[in-house]
């Protein structure tokens, strides 16, 4: 932090002494001011949430993350079932979306003829542009009834011996959230993976084909080249799934519950905040909700930072090659 600041002051000093033109100096410092504001904004966000959640942090400390009771009446706040719901819904969504996304990315980058690639890419990006609340609306009135009347009875009939597919078919619950999340992260993972695959030089494919590789064999070589970028894309999808709010809130059933069954309702960090924030009557309640937001903030920052570094290192590797 202090080294950044020093660097930044040095920079300005250097500019003051080397600049021959006042206009240039003002212009640079003005734009710099805005750049600094973006930098400060991220710090400010963290700081604001830290302040807002201080009450809860002081009272619960780390036990906030491992305590499994979330009870606003008795003012006991443990986020474990909520974190469980967030992690499980995101990971399951990723497990469904990842193979599909990679398939889509391969089709767009390696297989599709150019006349089909453009409109298809556009459609995939359109999927990413649909507002989350519309996914939720569709989830409530189309997806959930379908899950209730068809999917859950079928699953409990065929796979009911597993603990994951037991219980009453409500429709609302983990399964609905997982399905809707997998639809929502698919366009993110596939469009970034497509870009990553395209950044692998054509000469790699030619090298493979010239050795007598089939199309699939050459694709595997390209996939290996693009491994870190695809991992980055996956992490970006994970970050999106963890923070996704509206669609999940509308279909997940909203109960802080740790249950192996996908039919049962669950809760995620984002949906707790969305549901309970305006109802938070006591300061401690509000503080606990802000602490949840802080946890969400830190987790998504870590995931995104890591993901962007992976994607960047990938594109840089081929630029120097």
């Amino acid at each position: 932090m202090s080294s950044v600041k020093k660097k930044f002051e040095n920079n300005i000093l250097k500019k003051i002494f080397s600049s021959h033109n006042l206009g240039d100096l003002i212009f640079e410092r003005l734009t710099l001011l805005f750049a600094v504001s973006v930098f400060l904004l991220v710090l400010l966000m963290g700081y604001e949430m830290y302040l807002g959640s201080k009450l809860s942090i002081d009272k619960f400390g780390w036990s906030f993350l491992v305590n499994s009771t979330w009870d606003p009446v008795q003012e006991i706040y443990g986020a474990l079932p909520i974190i469980y719901g967030t992690v499980v819904s995101s990971l399951l969504a990723l497990i469904i979306a990842l193979p599909l996304s990679i398939g889509v990315a391969i089709y767009l980058a390696e297989v599709a003829p150019p006349w089909l690639e453009k409109p298809l890419s556009f459609l995939v990006e359109l999927l990413a542009g649909i507002p989350s609340v519309i996914y939720g609306l569709w989830g409530i009135f189309v997806l959930v009834p379908w899950i209730r009347t068809d999917v859950e009875p079928y699953l409990s009939d065929k796979l009911g011996f597993l603990p994951f597919f037991r219980g009453a078919p409500y429709g609302f619950g983990m399964l609905a959230a997982v399905l809707i999340l997998s639809i929502m992260v698919l366009p993110i993972i596939s469009s970034i993976s497509r870009d990553v695959l395209k950044s692998v030089p054509h000469s790699q494919r030619e090298a493979a084909l010239a050795l007598g590789a089939t199309k699939w064999q050459s694709t595997i070589i390209v996939l290996k080249d693009a491994k870190s970028g695809i991992l980055g894309a996956t992490m970006l999808g994970l970050g999106r799934a963890i923070g996704e709010t509206m669609a999940v809130t509308m279909v997940i059933g909203n109960r802080a519950l740790i249950s192996p069954s996908l039919f049962d309702p669950s809760y995620t960090m984002a949906s707790v905040i969305a549901n309970e924030f305006t109802e938070a009557t006591s300061e401690m309640y509000l503080s606990a909700l802000i602490q949840l937001a802080l946890v969400l903030f830190v987790i998504t920052i870590i995931i995104n930072a890591f993901a962007h570094l992976l994607v960047w290192s990938m594109s840089r590797k081929w630029k120097t090659a």
Binding site: Q204, E206, A208, L211, G212, D225, K227
Partner: protein, 249 residues
Amino acid sequence: MEIKLSVKNLDAYYGKNKVLNNISLNIPKNKVVAIIGPSGCGKSTFIRTLNRMHEVVGGTIKGEILLDGEDLAKTDPVLLRKRIGMVFQKPNPFPTMSIFNNVAAGLRLNGVRNKKKLTPIVEKCLKQAALWDEVKNNLDDSGANISGGQQQRLCIARTLAVDPEVILMDEPASALDPISTTKIEDLIFELKKDYTIVIVTHNMQQAARVSDYTAFFYMGELIEFSDTKKMFTSPEKQQTEDYIRGRFG
């Protein structure tokens, strides 16, 4: 003289753009044929039609190319490219694979997995490509962590490992320093005992040094094809002479 590849009335297109016009020539077995001409004359396109890499970037052809009398259009490109290997202008080793695995890549793609079988082939090909002594102690290093000249010889070794009959080289030394270039040229001289080689080059001295026959392409046409010595001492066509004497291109 046995004919390895026979090209008959070949036209090549990118979309509607015609880039090669009515090319006919015969490539004899175990000889080196150089393709020369100014940039944009279609020499790269020509060599890429010979192993059907031209169609990979969306190109099409008319006419006929015969490999040992067999029509290429009727051969599966996957099998064809095993018989006709290719070395590209820019070295393109697989960076995710070790040196050993780069050489073994083609064999692995064809289902040879047994390391005991692979090891002697890899060694033989690296020796043939005059790279063995330089890399024998670090076969597990990445194929991208060696010099450009070494990378290109690695690519040649990789091509040899599939045991092709013909090797196509698309300006294989143009991205390399003079010492590496000499090594590649020496290599070509060695390789022609066992292989038929077609090499595209913009460097006329190189063509004169390494090839037995030379084809001069200009604006998508084959202007002249003859014995290299004859081509460089007494070319038949005025355009060829102008090009060789450095009057254009």
